[in-house]
């Protein structure tokens, strides 16, 4: 697997040491142990590293935004997740930090890419009926059904306001 060379695109941080070690990709990337290819066609399993293979070691002096209680409450409303305790919030914090690393890349003058298909023509289909009529197949895997309807829990029940519910976030 060819190593990706991101050196060109990495912003030069003030006073950063641009050498091997901190904040650079270990080149080449760790490669999964070589396997003898058997004669019969077998799908080789995907190899996912157990720990992140790259870590941004540099502590950014830039202020890290703490996730506010309003944002957490908003997320709980939207996604119905329960942050439950400090560890949950900390995990979110780390996730945000991890994603923020994308800001390292200098995208000045580069148009965002919406789709890998951007150079293709959008295919237009004729207005003919070619699909449908597969009720049984669709319902086959449904855990619950009522007379050919899918069954879902009752409609969106909004979470009560922060003041009105018992949650860890109250004391945040």
């Amino acid at each position: 697997m060819r190593a990706l060379c991101l050196g060109r695109w990495l912003r030069t941080a003030p006073g950063a040491a641009r050498g091997a070690g901190e904040g650079r990709l270990p080149l080449p990337l760790p490669v999964p142990p070589a396997r003898a290819v058997p004669t019969a066609p077998v799908v080789s399993p995907a190899w996912v590293p157990p720990r992140p293979a790259w870590q941004h070691g540099q502590q950014r002096p830039a202020p890290q935004q703490k996730v506010t209680v309003e944002v957490l409450d908003h997320l709980e409303h939207l996604a119905l997740v329960d942050f439950r305790d400090a560890e949950g919030v900390e995990r979110l914090q780390k996730a945000v930090q991890f994603a923020d690393q994308l800001h390292e890349v200098n995208t000045d003058g580069v148009e965002p890419m919406d789709s890998v298909l951007e150079d293709r023509c959008l295919y237009l289909r004729e207005d003919d009926v070619t699909e449908g009529n597969c009720t049984n197949e669709l319902l086959k895997n449904a855990r619950e059904k009522v007379e050919e309807y899918f069954v879902a829990p009752p409609g969106n029940i909004p979470l009560p306001k922060l003041e009105e519910r018992e949650t860890f976030l109250q004391g945040f």
Binding site: H77, D114, C121, L124, V129, E131, N133, T135, A152, P153
Partner: protein, 510 residues
Amino acid sequence: MAAAAAARGCGGVWRWAWQRGAGGPAPAPRGQRAVACNARGGAVPEGKSGLAPWVPVVGLEIHAQISSNSKLFSGSQVQFAAPPNSLVSFFDASLPGTLPVLNRRCVEAAVMTGLALNCSINKKSLFDRKHYFYADLPAGYQITQQRVPIAVNGSLSYSLCIDNKMSQMVTKTVRIKQIQLEQDSGKSLHDDTRSQTLVDLNRAGVGLMEVVMEPDMCCGEEAAAAVRELQLILQTLGSSQAVMADYEIQRQIEELENGGTILNETRAFDSKLGCTVPMRDKEGKQDYRFMPEPNLPPLILYDAKSLPANLNHQQVVNIDWIHERLPDLPSVKRAKLVEQYGILPEHSFTLLNEDGLTEFFENVVKQTQMKPKKVIGWILKDLLSYLKQHSLTVKESPVSSFLLADLLNLLEKKEISSTAAKQVLAELWKGEGKTPLEIVKEQKLELIQDQKELEQICQAVIDGQENEVMAIKAGNRKVLNKLIGLVQRETQGRSNPVLVKQLLEKKLSE
């Protein structure tokens, strides 16, 4: 296109907002006039603080279901009232591994509608995902066009009557912000007793055109008139059946969401006017997390100039080609009717408002010698009122255009009086299959054609009304009407009043 009517042809969303009139310390970005209009044209009282009064503005977002055989991004059929989940493909059910494929007919429908509403068509438009959680949205997002929609910056002209009088019509215009293509969601049936929701995905993925109007309208009447005109346009184009519109008052007072004091003022303002306050928005602001739809490259449209030479015809949507083939829009049809038949503009509105009435009218005109200006009276006053009374459509009318034309011919040839004609129409309405002539003969409604007989009756009346005759001869012409009335009574309404008047006058001058 589709023969069956769409149950949800047209869904609308009201957007009520309050804006400061111009001249206050914080002038509204749109520069509304200081005097608010309401339906009756009266001025809205000023707010307490002496600032320019709050002006209600209404903007609409209309979702019109596109008339097509198959859905926007899949090949499932679009049909009303089918067994649940029978018109659903794997893509519509959002099963993994499925991808959207754009339906060409839906693109053409949107371009047609954009052109009819005087929009600029974006030759390059983009698709996005709008995320929210709901049982009838299996993917968790809806594919729409949030960043660059297919058409922008149009206008819609509509007319409405002031003070409920058909005679006073004003023309107004509302700006169209944009038209975008998007997917419909499925249908949820809430079963509260069993605490569950039943989901039918037949409608999920059906193509919609969302028509977004700027808040240029001041009240419900204007909004209703605008929607009616849009409905007529969509039906004329065939891009949507636009059968039913349902309104929701949704958007809250955005200007006021942040200022506490302003909110108080509004409440006082409301209690003075006794206006309904718009419904509270859904709990908190929705975060739709818009993102580009990665499975769909940009939609490129062409015109005569930019037409590529090497591309397959089937893959090309040519805006100019569509423009050339647009049918006459309602406003053009109305103008043509007024010009061709000499009827009033208000008449043309009524003709177009009733499905099939224009055709009926034109058929009658073709088959009768009576002038269209007179025919229109019979159509709009007599025929239409019968239809309305019995809740019938023009197509269900027991009186065909042929029968009505027949009747009007009798009237035109002066074989019957107009009173008699109305009697005949009442009889025809029973739909017993008799012709107008048969009814006239049955009920003895023919006008007396024998001049001699009429003269005799006139003479008899004159002879019997000495005082009146003297009054007339003395100069009181109005008494003549009494004599005409007497002759009518004698003849049981079978005398032509104009002829009778002539005969009487001749006799009295002898």
